[in-house]
């Protein structure tokens, strides 16, 4: 079995573990879906709560509920959302593309700006103004995403956009902090690479500045590529705030609501789908290592 296949074989196990933990945690929380829906309204009575619980399957034991969910999800049927009875699959299918688009746009923006910016700042590190720019970036990083989002919205950005272009301001707001961080990583990595001995050797061999730059950059790209694998999921979850402020309906907000309303099937569905996306992203990043540094090719798995 190749390394890749071995890695893929473990995925169901990982999913099982994560969904089990999620299930356990949500049931450990006080309150359940029936209670939340009844709210403080007058109509709730022990009978109506019991009826709701029976309808949602919440009156069975935990192992029975989880087993039932497992059985259904193996057929990719995640059940119905407890809040409105719509199929979980449909709700996720509505929200996922938006989240993915937002995260990918944000990642593209962040990398697109951060890599050249960071590399430039690293290359020109001895210049005082480069250092000053580096320092000023922190001001941008320190702004909370929601504040940035509100400022961008105030400046006239569209709300509730459906197209990729319309989502650009939102993606930009989301990407801002990410860009600063990545630029720093890139700069740091380049500085290290430039100080490394193989660069000294290359210089001694007579390689011009451009050659040295390319050489160093290739090595310095590694952390950046690594981040691609992990920042995408991070962007997916950090998007909750941006989603809310810009009126984009992604799985970030849906997941948060699912926890608040104790909507167990929806939460488990989102966890599973989110996990698959994350694992795919991580795998893609690991495979990309092989492209950046041939020595690591075999390590992809």
């Amino acid at each position: 079995m190749t390394a890749l296949a071995r890695r893929l074989a473990v995925v169901p196990l990982v999913l099982l573990g994560v969904t089990l933990v999620t299930f356990a945690l949500v049931h450990a929380l006080p309150g359940d879906a029936a209670l939340v829906q009844a709210g403080t309204a007058r109509g709730a009575s022990p009978e109506s709560l019991a009826a709701m619980r029976a309808e949602y399957g919440l009156d069975r034991s935990w192992p029975a509920q989880y087993a039932a969910w497992l059985g259904r999800s193996a057929r990719l049927d995640f059940g119905d959302s407890l809040v409105d009875g719509r199929p979980v699959r449909a709700k996720i299918a509505e929200a996922l593309p938006t989240s993915l688009a937002l995260a990918l746009l944000a990642a593209a923006l962040a990398f697109g700006v951060a890599v050249p910016l960071g590399a430039a700042l690293g290359w020109l590190d001895r210049k005082a103004w480069a250092r000053a720019t580096s320092a000023a970036l922190y001001g941008i990083y320190a702004l909370p995403v929601a504040a940035v989002a509100l400022l961008v919205l105030r400046a006239g950005a569209p709300w509730g956009a459906r197209t990729l272009v319309g989502m650009l301001p939102a993606a930009g707001a989301l990407a801002l902090a990410e860009t600063v961080k990545l630029a720093r990583y890139q700069r740091g990595a380049l500085l290290d690479a430039l100080a490394a001995d193989y660069v000294t050797t290359a210089r001694a061999k007579g390689l011009g500045p451009a050659g040295v730059a390319v050489h160093a950059l290739r090595n310095a790209l590694l952390p950046t590529v690594t981040l691609l694998g992990s920042e995408l999921p991070a962007l997916l979850s950090a998007a909750v705030v941006v989603e809310q402020v810009f009126g984009l309906h992604g799985i970030g907000m849906m997941a948060f609501d699912a926890v608040m309303t104790r909507d167990v099937p929806l939460l488990l569905g989102i966890t599973t789908v989110g996990a698959l996306v994350t694992l795919a992203a991580v795998l893609a990043a690991d495979l990309a290592y092989g492209l950046v540094d041939p020595r690591l090719r075999g390590r992809a798995a």
């Binding site: 006080p30 922190y138 929601a146 990595a189 992990s230 920042e231 991580v282 390590r299 798995a301």
Partner: protein, 279 residues
Amino acid sequence: MSAWRRFSSTPGARLGLAILAVFVLAAALADLMPYGPEEQHPGGVTTVLAPPSMAHWLGTDDRGRDVASRLVHGARVALLVGPLAVALYVAVGLLIGAAAALGRRADFVIGRLIEIGLLFPALLLLLAIQGVTSRTSLAEVAFAIAVTQWPYVARLTRAEALRVAAAPHVEAARAVGAGRLRLLGVHILPLAATPAITAAAFGIGYAVLFETALTFLGFGVPPPTASWGELLAQAQASGLRPWLLWPPTFAIAAVVLACNLVGDGVRAALSAPLQAAGA
């Protein structure tokens, strides 16, 4: 050159230390501020959400509390939660990530561990803790941050560690007979730590911003504790009043800047062994 010399000769590293020292001092002497951070009727009269004035240099918040005082006291929370969380997740992430260089099998296990870490529902865990204890203390916030962040550090470290492990000087050391643990501790770890250091430098800023989001959702530090996150949450809720938004932003920026400058110095201090070993 000793490590300290390498550190202090890095431009900005000493400035960074100085900035951090100022914040630590401010946090320590916070009680000297003219108004208490929780006083809702300072001086008997209060206006709510008042812009900066002679009486209140940074204005008042939505309950009439002095913003300047809350800013300075907020440094305590930032300097407690931030470093605590960062220490936790950098230590864990660094060790786990570097261990991937121990061998193929270790790498496989570490890779899967990191994946599980990335998928772990930290918000749920935080809620579960809060649901049971009815409050979120500083320690819990720090723990929540650590639980979410360690996989990123681990991934970065792992990638660097693998790359460094394939470098010629490490091969050389291996050929000479250095044991795996010695390889890891002396040759690989210091170099693989570079991205982790950057992560740590941003960590404190990230911790405060995470805390802002939590406060906004209602799960932040227990009220009426003063924190920069709480000021920012108020800024968001009040339509971005400038005296609530900019002071904590600048404070965070200054702290993150300082940490990054110090981080540059630390990286310089650590990278010298490469020169010594490689050339």
